[in-house]
């Protein structure tokens, strides 16, 4: 935009200058642009004429419009009338005042003492963070065990569920040396155990090593230890202290738990609604029992294993599955 270039007979020498002049007239222009427009108006007769004419016209239009509303323009009486017509407060405002005090107090705390508040909050977060991190790391250490499975050690978090997918069955070797052979499609969960790195049981000192059998067959060779070894079935609980035994659930028939003992002594207890129901059987080597349903008793506390069922006691060879 050349400030000296004006050769038209229209109102303004260009649309750009027209816009600038209107902004100048409306007092919406920056100081640098203002002096530029003023310089241009000194040199450009068309723009100068346009500006003066526009200013004059707008003054007159504004004057007319303002005169028209003058009589009704709100003044002091308007305010007085309005204030008199305001409705009275309907209810007690004490609660609103209390809420305001609390809100103001919180705001002041953050506005005036924000540095101290921020420092205190940071320290608190650091302390709590350290505490929870330490506890969490301890908790995590206690919440897993290493189980040898398929020729490699797996770091399993407790509770660790397993589902056997190998048709030949699978071996599991636990940190204490106990071995479990599970048949195809057996579903069980390691609920409490101890790792070789820890002296305490995962689920607490003094508790049994616990396996929960959901469905299928387990051949278990329990390594003797201070803690017992418990297999929980939906309707029975089997507890030992170092023995070889067989336990199955839902294999022969639904809700039927079968326990057969090869070595040692096994205690079988009837369980109903997660509580020992009173009926129990103590099995010695080459004895078996079964628990049927959820309301009955343990059958045959000392029944010897039928020779036809000797397979219960033949612990599978390691090459049957993969360890």
């Amino acid at each position: 935009m050349d400030s000296n270039y004006c050769n038209t007979e229209s109102y303004c020498c260009s649309t750009e200058w027209e816009q600038e002049i209107i902004l100048y007239l409306d007092n919406e222009i920056s100081p640098s642009s203002r002096s530029r427009v003023e310089r241009h108006l000194l040199h450009c007769a068309a723009c100068n004429h346009y500006w003066q004419e526009l200013e004059e016209q707008e003054k007159r239009i504004a004057g007319i419009l303002r005169h028209e509303i003058q009589a009704d323009l709100p003044k002091e009486e308007f305010t007085d009338r309005l204030m008199q017509s305001l409705p009275e407060p309907k209810t007690s405002l004490i609660w609103y005042r209390i809420a305001d005090w609390i809100r103001d107090g919180v705001q002041n705390l953050f506005l005036q003492g924000w540095r101290q508040t921020a420092l205190a909050a940071t320290l608190l977060i650091c302390i709590l963070g350290t505490y929870f991190t330490l506890n969490m790391s301890n908790a995590l250490d206690e919440r897993f065990i290493h189980i040898k499975h398929k020729n490699q050690y797996e770091r399993c978090f407790i509770p660790a569920p397993f589902r056997v997918t190998d048709p030949n069955g699978e071996f599991f070797e636990f940190p204490d040396g106990s071995i479990i052979y599970a048949t195809y499609e057996t579903l069980f969960t390691v609920e409490a155990f101890q790792d070789e790195h820890h002296d305490t049981l995962v689920a607490g000192i003094g508790q049994d090593r616990q396996i929960k059998l959901g469905h299928g067959e387990l051949y278990i060779d329990v390594r003797p230890a201070r803690e017992g070894f418990t297999v929980r079935c939906p309707n029975a609980r089997v507890r030992v202290f170092g023995t070889q035994f067989y336990v199955s659930n839902g294999v022969i028939s639904k809700d039927k738990t079968v326990v057969a003992v090869r070595e040692g002594i096994v205690m079988v207890e009837k369980v109903s609604r997660n509580r020992v129901a009173g009926s129990s059987a103590q099995l010695k080597a080459h004895q078996m029992t079964s628990v049927v349903g959820r309301g009955g008793r343990c059958y045959s506390s000392s029944r010897r294993i039928d020779p036809r069922s000797q397979s219960f006691l033949s612990f599978p060879a390691r090459n049957a599955g993969s360890l």
């Binding site: 027209e18 526009l54 303002r66 509303i69 709100p74 305010t79 009338r81 309005l82 204030m83």
Partner: protein
């Protein structure tokens, strides 16, 4: 009056001190009136509506979420009341098959019509009143109260850029309309 002062006043009003509403009314009453007049084009109706807007704002003050934006909120209430009044008036006018009387140039008509400047001014006022609303309302606000673009944008809930461009376009339309009518009437 800074917004912080407004917030303090609003808190006092909400606490039951109604007299603290007065400074708020005094600050906004003329702008609210001008806004209502620009939309309604009738000063007595604009005054009644301003009163109604302040009353409604007082009753609903507890619903105002951001107390720093009392002004924008009040303008919004005023606009809505104006649109409602216009809608009612439009329905009544349609049902009565009436055309609202033009009240343009009352002041000019009191003067002599022989003066070419007065005649030009009357033409301008007539053109201003017949302009599309989106330009006329902005020009009215500018002429009536000499408001800044920022204030107009807040009152009409428009961007400042849009206010700037519409004021420019409005003035150009007004000038071209007057020129055209002048040429038709005087044959040059």
């Amino acid at each position: 009056m800074m917004n912080t002062t407004e917030v303090t006043l609003i808190k006092q009003v909400l606490s039951g001190n109604q007299e603290f509403y007065r400074p708020l009314v005094e600050k906004y009453q003329q702008k609210i009136f001008v806004l209502a007049y620009s939309l309604l084009r009738n000063s007595s109706e604009a005054q009644d509506l301003s009163q109604e807007a302040f009353l409604m704002a007082f009753k609903k003050l507890r619903e105002l979420k951001d107390q720093k934006k009392f002004g924008s909120w009040l303008y919004g209430i005023t606009r809505n009341l104006c649109y409602e009044a216009l809608r009612k008036k439009h329905v009544e006018t349609d049902s009565l098959d009436e055309v609202p009387p033009a009240k343009v140039g009352n002041v000019i008509s009191m003067r002599g019509v022989d003066d070419p400047n007065e005649e030009m001014l009357r033409t301008m006022m007539k053109k201003l009143e017949s302009m599309p609303e989106k330009y006329r309302i902005l020009l009215h606000l500018k002429y009536l109260k000499d408001l800044t673009y920022q204030e107009i944008s807040e009152m009409l809930d428009l961007s400042v850029d849009l206010v700037r461009s519409r004021l420019f376009e409005g003035r150009r339309l007004l000038r071209e309309g007057v020129e055209q009518e002048w040429r038709e009437e005087h044959g040059f």
